[in-house]
Amino acid sequence: MGKNLKVGIMVLLVAVAFAAAPALAQDKLVVWWNKSFVPAQDDAFKEVVQKWEKKTGKQVDLSFFALPDHPAKMLAAFDSKIVPDVDFGQIVNVQTGDFAYEDKLLEISDVINPIRSRFGDGALRSCEHMNAKTGKRGIYAFPLMQHGVNFHYWSDMVQAAGYKDADIPKQWKPFWDFWGEVQKKLRAKGERVYGLGISYSVEATDTWQEFYHFMEAYRVRVLDDDGKLLVNDPKVRPGLITALDDFTRHYKAKNVPPGATSWKDIDNNLNFNNRQTVMTMNPTLSIPGSFFGKDMEAYNKKIKTLRWPTAPDGKPLTLRVSIHNGFIPKDSKNKELAKDFVRFILEPENLDQFVKASNGAFFPVLIESGKDPFFASADPHRAAVYKNFTETPTRPYDTVINRKFITVHTENLYGRACGRVLADNWTSAKAVDELIARMKQIVTD
């Protein structure tokens, strides 16, 4: 064999290897998944993946992405059309409605419809979106878990201030004022603490999640159930002003750490965990969860999880819930395999394994799983959440009923209104007028 021929054959082999590499990679299911705050949840998902690999004989190329990194990665993937086969990201899924509208997602009613009865209405509704190309609504996501906004407080700090747990009021205004009184008592003892941890920044998603509950408390809704904007309703503007006044008055009264105007989502956790705030609101149970296994005295005795007080009219307020969904991109190279994978992880046994591993930070979307003693009664924090989900009316956030509200949330218009009041010294009325104007602009665009 001549030298030139040998070189030629080697070049050919290398070329074949390169050409085959993408084909081999396509045999693997590419899954991008949210990196959990709780490492055990990542491990649980890896186990579910391994079970599927064993069952099907197929391989999964699994990557975990941290919350803030995931959206950029996914947007770049859609742009380049080099997408994963399955994706779930806690922040990414805020934009699911937009992705579906832009025809970037695979319609998966054949996956969800056969198991519809397993899920609650809110969970199902959160998966249904409009596709502008087809002009039809369809199921473009699959529900995994959900969470509401919870209250946590340091019981030992309340006691140090001279109160008992039972002293915490259950009516709206006395409830909020109570934490200011606790702060006063503790500061009188030389402790540099704040009564309340409320997010007011535009950086934190906590801000709009918390503000929604103040709107619900004052019976204000900016969208009806069909997604129609209600801001021209004469009751809505005054209601928004009252809610904004009430929401921001705690910061003005200096009962909230001043840095709350620039908090990121993690900062209310950090302030509470460092005992800088006596009580904080927080989506999910990640705060007590961060003590689980490390400081069980704090988890079991010092930190308590409260239910919401009654609204100012004395009746329960509707709690807003965030449903976390995954999706299959339309440009997936393994659509059928991806659907099979999704069917597998939505099996109650597998989904429960994943959700429970968050140590109850999230609540199941499967109706039967929610009744499991693990969520209902085995743990004081989870039991409070269970009661919120089962004894109080709940409603998904407005993005589920109007896709344009994704922009309302990503621009954090409610946080911006807080900024106008707290940083620019605007009146709540002026801030609400700006909020309404921008909301109208976004919805009509």
């Binding site: 540099r192 302030n271 800088q276």
Partner: protein, 290 residues
Amino acid sequence: MARSLSVSPPLTPSGRVHKDSAWGVILVTPYVVVFVCIVVYPILYGIVLGSHAESYRKLFSDPIYLRSAWNTLVFLLVAVNLKLLLALFLSGFFYNTERWIRWVSIIFLLPWAAPSLPSIFSIRWMFNSEWGLINTVLFRLFGIDGPLWLVKPDLAFGLVIATHIWKNLPFWTIILLAGRMAIPKDHYEAADVDGATRIQVFRFITFPALKNLYITSTLLSTIWSVGDFNSVYLLTGGGPFDATHVLSTLGIRYAFSIGDIPTGVATVITALPLVIPIVLILIRRLGKGE
């Protein structure tokens, strides 16, 4: 004598491309391919992404944009000039050859050598209003809550500028120190013999010798600082209430927080009228050998 303007590869008498020229083409091809892939293509793609008129309409109607553009201008004017001025004077200090100054120079270099992420996060935690080191010490010593460093927009932006200077000052000090070391010593000796004061030495010897380097450094630093994302993003994240954004962080906010990549690219493109003239001036100066 007329110069040949031919750019064709030299031909051999048989009309074939000369062997050396062929090698030249082979060797330059990888560079051209890499240049096209990682410079030309991204720039053209960016221009395509940022060419939607709708993005600019949205951008210019957003009050955060005007504030960010203003912040960028202030950042460049204050941070770059203050940094270069400090670097100029500090280079004089480090020009001294005492042993202790050598040790100080090693410590002085650390902020530049340390990675941005941990060092800027450390500053952020130090200046945290509630539990940061500085306000905790103030509370322990005097019972006061301390300034709201990263909460008040002006104070937060001042800290952004201070952080940028702290991080980049060592580099520019070294550049100007190298410039000082290139000045012939006999100029100083002659000035000493003539009884010149220190101010006169600086005015008539040091500064004229460093002037071109100083101006070039200022231009270069301005170009680099337009893209300084870390000082803002890691310290304030653009907050509070989007009041400390510069164009580079606002572009990222649009592209990846809001998911509007064209408007994100458009944001950065609006900085080009500021950058391109500086680049042209810089290239012209370098072309003249100034």
